[in-house]
Symmetry: C2
Subunit: 250 residues, 2 copies
């Protein structure tokens, strides 16, 4: 759209989106210069586009002069289906579960070959964990991940099993062993991990079904898995409740 474009073929929209994409978990606040670098745009262009984004509310400028994601994008994000359907419906069940166990409660879905955490409840009494809402973790080292993987299409299972990076000393890195665990997960109806993601943390998880489909996984993180039957029971009650609410709700 402009004569002296340095990268012909790039659309205005792509540039604006590149600016938004410059923000991530480790870069929540960026100066104009950083934005221009990370988005690969010249300063004046960055300045103009950012000005528009701020005017609309997609970005906001802090008193310090740097930029952050704006409130309006936060609003918009809440309208995403991942939030609307699943999270909203599941929320009360997660709280019930938290109240019953006082453990960290996770609600996760599969995103490609990773686990995407859709919601997380953690009180003060809970074990510290690495996940946070919106974060992605490997499937083979988490309870919810194993559940989702066990119910995933074969191609996904192959992709994940072919590369099992080590996270802790206890992470399962042998495809055969993991495959056997996945089979057990299908038979038993739940999966567990023992310090495979972070030391001192164990987890237990069950599938959430909408009709026949497994649409999410519900998990707990605890210091140990003693009293396993009670945990599985609580999880399954909550998972069934969510599944039922999902089916009747739409």
């Amino acid at each position: 759209m402009a004569g002296n474009t340095s990268t012909p073929g790039a659309t205005v929209t792509s540039r604006a989106l590149a600016l938004l994409g410059a923000f991530d978990e480790h870069h929540r606040r960026l100066t104009l210069t950083q934005l221009s670098e990370r988005a690969g745009l010249p300063m004046p262009t960055t300045h103009r586009l950012v000005g528009e984004l701020v005017a609309w509310g997609a970005l906001s400028r802090t008193p310090a002069g740097d930029y952050a994601v704006g409130r309006r994008l936060w609003d918009l994000g809440l309208l995403a289906p991942v939030q609307t359907g699943l999270r909203e419906v599941a929320s009360p069940y997660l709280h019930d579960l938290y109240g019953a166990t006082l453990a960290t409660v996770h609600l996760a879905v599969r995103d490609g070959t990773a686990v995407l955490y859709v919601d997380r409840l953690a009180g003060h009494a809970s074990v510290p964990v690495v996940s946070s809402i919106g974060s992605r973790l490997p499937m083979h080292a988490t309870g919810v991940g194993k559940v989702l993987l066990a119910h995933a299409p074969v191609e996904v299972q192959h992709a994940v099993l072919s590369d099992l990076p080590r996270v802790t000393a206890y992470t399962i890195t042998q495809p055969g062993l993991l495959r056997r665990q996945l089979g057990k997960t299908l038979r038993d109806g739940y999966a567990t991990t023992t310090e495979e993601m972070s030391l001192g943390a164990c987890s237990i998880a069950v599938p959430v079904r909408r009709g026949p489909d497994v649409v999410a996984a519900l998990g707990l993180v605890l210091p140990s898995l003693k009293d396993r039957p009670k945990l599985v029971g609580a999880l399954q009650v909550a998972a069934h409740g969510i599944g039922r609410a999902l089916t009747t709700g739409g």
Copy 2:
């Protein structure tokens, strides 16, 4: 950028943002035609821009063929400061509070002359309420709203007091009465409502302070306000905890 523009002066960015803005709480899924109408853009333009937005992940296309807010925008929204700082820090305290009271717990900030709900916990035992995360409600009819209003700049108080729309039969619509309640809120350190927003629901709320500034309000919604001292106590413990965590955290 284009010769035959029907509305000269409009930037590409503004058009793209108009498309995003076409989504709201009541329009979470839109067809291409609806998008073009709501954004005020011609069909071909809409088609092209939406294509780019989908390619980037800002929007997603459902199997049914209509569009919704995409997962990547959801991700981005989670990076917004409103979420990052306040919500993350407050989360465990809200759960503690929920565990202690089993009431609906609200965390809200002021957004202009309205209350913006940043987080909400509600179990099955809780009173049904109209708010949801991201929604905005009038300040004069909610507990958290009264707290935030009492600590708001005078201009904001004037603006709100000059227009007090009735919501239920018990909504306070007399500026004088509300002004007195705000004074009492400052003295007592908490505010209450009694069926002013929805019948059968009362609320009680306290300010969350970061140093001297009131940055948010923390509230409970209950069927009745019996045992008020215990509720105020629990709220203040949580509010102080959040305030302290905010100060030390940054």
